[in-house]
């Protein structure tokens, strides 16, 4: 095991340590007895609000509310971004928005196929719901399995929730797409790697990027549909757009809203470390059970959802690294 440890230390030295971000305390006080998420919209830019989930893993205590949803009050209707993990969340999100503005919601956008991006769609049945066409297909294919899993994890919070995929699939050929909505110039772009279809929304009027699942901050990234090389390339693309002044503020789906590229760099650092860890361990001949027990570098150890999310990633992806090494010929020594 000594060599395994050395490999970890080497990898840690290569990745440039990403700057850490303050994580504010969870603003909501979910009440399980009343099934009240206590959603508290917070304004982050003109007309722009986020409802922040806990920076944590799913739990009944947080109502499985771990996602940041958002809405933009444009002057010509509201654009809603992501609808949370359940029917109840969507309903309470809708009421929270109605408390802030009388403008009607003109569209609802889900940035990818994961359940907390669209399980609140039941509350928006009378509004256009959009997602990339590939995401819509994924929601349709996997929605029931997501529901099974979330009912198991979240219990009563899921009451009455049925997977309700977005109806309007955006053809990737039509992206990037700029929408002038009221006083906001919004641009939709397609990237990939966190899932096969990652939609991002840039509000050029306010300089806010809704980054979806491509960017995590102070929280271990989830990887059930990851394509690691493409994800890293998408993060580089985002960093370039930031350098070109296309956005200033980043709203990740999980983790604190922040200015700059700290979240982009954290996510990139993690993906590089994780893949190097798996490759190095497979070449050393370690079994999955041993890799699950390797120490995590200090800079990642404090992140939310550690080690559960790391273990999910290793359990899902390490067998492929093992397999490549097994069929790849004789050992180096």
């Amino acid at each position: 095991m000594k060599h395994g440890l050395l490999a970890v230390l080497c990898c840690a030295a290569v990745g440039a340590a990403a700057q850490s971000l303050p994580v504010p305390p969870f603003a909501s006080k979910p009440d399980l007895a009343r099934l009240d998420y206590d959603l508290k919209p917070r304004q982050i830019a003109p007309g722009t609000w986020v409802i922040e989930g806990e920076v944590a893993d799913f739990s009944r205590a947080n109502g499985c509310n771990i996602i940041n949803t958002g809405f933009i009050v444009t002057g010509d209707g509201v654009v809603v971004i992501n609808t949370g993990p359940s029917r109840l969340y969507g309903e309470q999100q809708r009421r929270a928005i109605e408390r802030i503005t009388r403008e009607p919601v003109q569209r609802v956008i889900a940035l990818n196929l994961h359940p907390d991006y669209f399980f609140g769609h039941q509350a928006w049945a009378d509004r256009p719901t959009q997602a990339l066409a590939g995401s819509v297909a994924g929601m349709q294919a996997e929605g029931r399995a997501y529901a099974d899993n979330l009912y198991r994890l979240c219990g009563d919070w899921m009451k009455g929730t049925e997977s309700t995929p977005a109806r309007d699939g955006l053809d990737p050929q039509t992206l990037p797409q700029t929408l002038q909505v009221g006083g906001h110039r919004l641009e939709l772009r397609r990237l990939e790697g966190h899932t096969a279809d990652d939609l991002v929304l840039i509000d050029h009027t306010t300089g806010v990027l809704f980054a979806g699942g491509l960017v995590f901050a102070e929280r271990v990234p989830t990887t059930p549909h990851a394509q690691f090389a493409r994800w890293t390339a998408s993060l580089d693309q985002l960093a370039q757009w930031h350098a070109a002044g296309q956005f200033r503020t980043v709203v990740p789906s999980h983790g604190p809203v922040h200015d700059g590229t700290a979240g982009i760099r954290q996510t990139r650092d993690w993906l590089q470390w994780l893949t190097a860890q798996m490759q190095g361990s497979a070449e050393r001949g370690l079994d999955l059970g041993e890799v699950l027990r390797l120490p995590v570098p200090e800079r990642f150890a404090r992140w939310a959802a550690q080690p559960a999310e790391l273990h999910r990633s290793l359990t899902q992806w390490y067998p492929q690294f093992e397999q490549r090494v097994l069929v790849g010929g004789p050992s180096a020594r």
Partner: protein, 265 residues
């Protein structure tokens, strides 16, 4: 969802276990440090009427949580018994709360008394390694593995897509040096669907026995596998550093298919 539909069967068998007063003593767990009521019947099923000493000289490690209930990684290490009772003769792994409880039976022979492998788990359960030393004594180590209720989250891939028949019995193997002191690691995969027999219309179909032979026909270890071992079993063995460069892996499944492959560094 291979194992789905077995819950009721399991519940029925569990109920009957509780009801049968086969171990009418005050402690219905047979002294199990994990407090499992299934332990006494598991022990009897695994080692018969013999008694077993609970010990941390037998290390069993599983994940904190079985994220993939079809592939739960387990490590068993009985090197702590190297100097006890003449050393380790065999290791039997079994699971209290699985529809099929016997996992494998390993005779280390010339190998180290340790191995890593993956199994299917239907629900959270203790996992046991019953280790018999050469003097006939049994020693048992345990761990508790948490798993999601409902067990499987992913169907057996090669059974689902039909590809198993093209790879049946293929062997992949590789040696690794210096992973642990004093050992030469052999990681071995045999392609096999390892059907549990618990899915409607798919009878039990699994590797029954494997052994590692050197050029002179000497056997270095022997292992019998049961249904809970995961599809396309990947098993990690530890051989002495002074072991031959090349071996032959020989075995069969319960349908009589032969497994026979060169295993060389």
């Amino acid at each position: 969802m291979r194992l789905i539909g077995t819950r009721r069967q399991w519940l029925q068998s569990a109920m009957s276990l509780v009801a049968v007063p086969a171990f009418a003593q005050d402690d219905q767990t047979g002294g199990d440090p994990l407090g499992s009521m299934q332990y006494p019947s598991l022990r009897e099923q695994t080692i018969g009427k013999a008694s077993a000493r609970f010990t941390d000289q037998v290390v069993v490690k599983g994940p904190a949580f079985a994220d993939d209930a079809m592939n739960v990684p387990l490590l068993v290490d009985a090197r702590g018994l190297d100097k006890v009772g003449g050393g380790v003769a065999r290791i039997r792994v079994s699971v209290d709360r699985n529809p099929v409880r016997q996992v494998l039976d390993f005779e280390p022979l010339r190998a180290l008394p340790m191995l890593a492998f993956r199994i299917r788990m239907e629900q959270a359960s203790p996992v046991r390694a019953f280790v018999q030393t050469r003097d006939g004594q049994w020693h048992v180590g345990s761990t508790w593995v948490q798993a999601a209720g409902g067990g499987c989250t992913v169907p057996g891939l090669t059974r689902a897509d039909g590809s198993w028949s093209r790879t049946l019995g293929q062997v992949q193997a590789r040696f690794f040096n210096n992973v642990i002191d004093g050992s030469r690691r052999l990681r071995l995969r045999v392609m096999h669907p390892m059907d549990t027999g618990l899915v409607a219309g798919v009878p039990s179909f699994h590797i029954e026995q494997l052994e590692l032979q050197d050029a002179g026909g000497q056997v270095w270890w022997r292992i019998a596998l049961h249904e809970p071992v995961s599809e396309n079993p990947l098993i990690t063995f530890e051989l002495p550093t002074a072991s031959p460069p090349a071996f032959r892996l020989v075995g069969r499944d319960n349908n009589g298919n032969r497994i026979d492959a060169e295993v060389a560094a």
